[in-house]
Symmetry: C2
Subunit: 396 residues, 2 copies
Amino acid sequence: MTGFARRAERVEPSAIREFLSLAGDPAITSFAGGYPDATLFPIEELHQIYADLLTRGSAGALQYTASEGLPQLRALVAQRLTADGMPCTAEDVLITQGGQQGLDLTAKLFIDAGDVIVTERPTFLGAIIAFNPYEPRYRSVPIDDEGMDTDALQQVLRTTERVKVIYTVPDYQNPTGQTMSLTRRTRLVELAEEFDAVILEDTPYRELRYEGQRLPTIKSLDRTGRVVHLGSFSKILAPGLRLGWALSSPEVRDKLALLKLAADTQNGTLNMRAAADYLSRFDLEGHIASMLPTYRHQRDLMLTMLEEHFPDGTTWTRARGGLFTWVTFPEGLDMARFQRDLLIPRAGVIVVPGAPFFAVQPESNHARMSFSGVPDDRIVAGVSAMGALLHEALSG
Amino acid sequence: MTGFARRAERVEPSAIREFLSLAGDPAITSFAGGYPDATLFPIEELHQIYADLLTRGSAGALQYTASEGLPQLRALVAQRLTADGMPCTAEDVLITQGGQQGLDLTAKLFIDAGDVIVTERPTFLGAIIAFNPYEPRYRSVPIDDEGMDTDALQQVLRTTERVKVIYTVPDYQNPTGQTMSLTRRTRLVELAEEFDAVILEDTPYRELRYEGQRLPTIKSLDRTGRVVHLGSFSKILAPGLRLGWALSSPEVRDKLALLKLAADTQNGTLNMRAAADYLSRFDLEGHIASMLPTYRHQRDLMLTMLEEHFPDGTTWTRARGGLFTWVTFPEGLDMARFQRDLLIPRAGVIVVPGAPFFAVQPESNHARMSFSGVPDDRIVAGVSAMGALLHEALSG
């Protein structure tokens, strides 16, 4: 049959999908998911909201609505963004099908084949998956305790043609858990101005802050309308609603809205109504605050267990928020192989081997480990079993 | 700021968006929407379903799930497609964000810039909007009482390089309401085989059949896996859930599923659970059957009114199903101008002027008129007022 488009060559199954199917097996302890903790979802409030929405006379909740999103929800999101240092109105906000659609639409808007996207090193795997069909080239810059290394970024920008987009997860990054310092945020905006690039700021974990100060978003430092700011209800309300947002300059928003219309007409009206009702009837900030102790405890327990059980020569990040720690093993330890040959068969534990999180030059001696939603006894047993196997593998 | 991708040039606001905002004005009679009738949504059943889903212990309905779609829903859709002459299993079905996402993903998979998509003439505006970002060239072939003219199609295929996709709405087409005959369906499949093209079969209105026989889908005639079949719950359950499906060969389905993952991770879990519960607990076929008399009556009333009030030299289609009739006015009558200058200010009526439904060489003397969900008195008053203005304009 007739051939696929050239971009289809960039669309390949992820190496991690195969073993992620194991995550549903109750015999497996999964540090792989990165899902929010389902026991924390405000299910009673949502029960009430959907019951109220689905009554005679409210059929509008099931009808089509505007492709940019339900006006009430856009206004309520704009209020939250304004409170977070990004003054805006409903018209500035585009509702997206989760944060992922914001990644897709932004790449669709800016990337011609061969244009360059700069990512952190490592970076969010889902972003690479979203960007790839638009056939970008990639450059990557290291990330450390202060986030993306802006000196290294400057070097890349100086030496690379056609950089269109700089992609960053500044708060509690996926996969490293690292947070970009205010100094670097400011420097990033300067560099983007100097080299005329778009910054794509992705903030799904921003509200899951366990320690440290709340830092200004990169968008709040933007004076030239070059930041596309993405957010999501997935980690603060529930991922099953698939609701996110994009805040951008009017010119960009207009184009993103047209691409949204082209891609799927609109988000589901019912879920947008439900989220708007949740925001107006209940206390989202209070709900977020109520979840933090659970996540903080899970993080602390995992870090303590890593300290106790993982061998010398292994390092990991201390995330001040979010869902992840990033573990680096001695060079030569191939985490994908270790997991396949030892970790799954002998400990019943899965993590995400780190290689797919590199946009270029993958490194195999890392793992992303999520503590979210794993019961205490499983964190203790899983990390200690993994530690024992690591000792064995590294002494071998 | 840095420029948009080249494809952004193909992403422009639709001429119809501006006046569609008028459709919400209660003083306006809108034949423009093409929305299903909201009074027919099974809101009580959905109330019950969401109430049952959102209870303690069922937090999975709010969590992430598989990007291809909820397994139960894929299986239930596969059952319906099998019953409709397309034997398949859950694995063959991809759940999409409405039919629109199926259009986007299929173009994304097959179309390189400059590849040709053949459409009916006129064709669904939303499909052109979905396809444009992939920078296709278009050819179009006339549609008549038997659907897409396959002789004209053969001519196009013989004389055009790089035809990758033939796009058709075979049942009660948007915007003409026309249905493709079995002879032409068979011929279409032969021609696609001969010229090695993909057929994109879009069937959102298939179940809204008011008269005539149920015809086999084009997919059911496909022996070489070259048909991508799209369907949607929007017109048979509710559009606000944003649920559709794509049925295709395994090779195509694998790639479409990866593009779905890239685009938005997945459909909302909660809505997929709700649709699966509706299909297993309630009688969708019975619900569809219960809606048909209302739509049939609305269609009949509109056709009668057109006959009574529209001037000689005006013709329209008699749709055997779906939501639309396509009206052709004497050449020289520019429907967009007529609407702006006379129809809206003097009659408070809106239709969709036909020009945007042409992928190439737009014609201005048509209108798409939807009868769906318009109260009887409004159909009577709106069509007669429009008829009076047409008489005036044409005698002028």
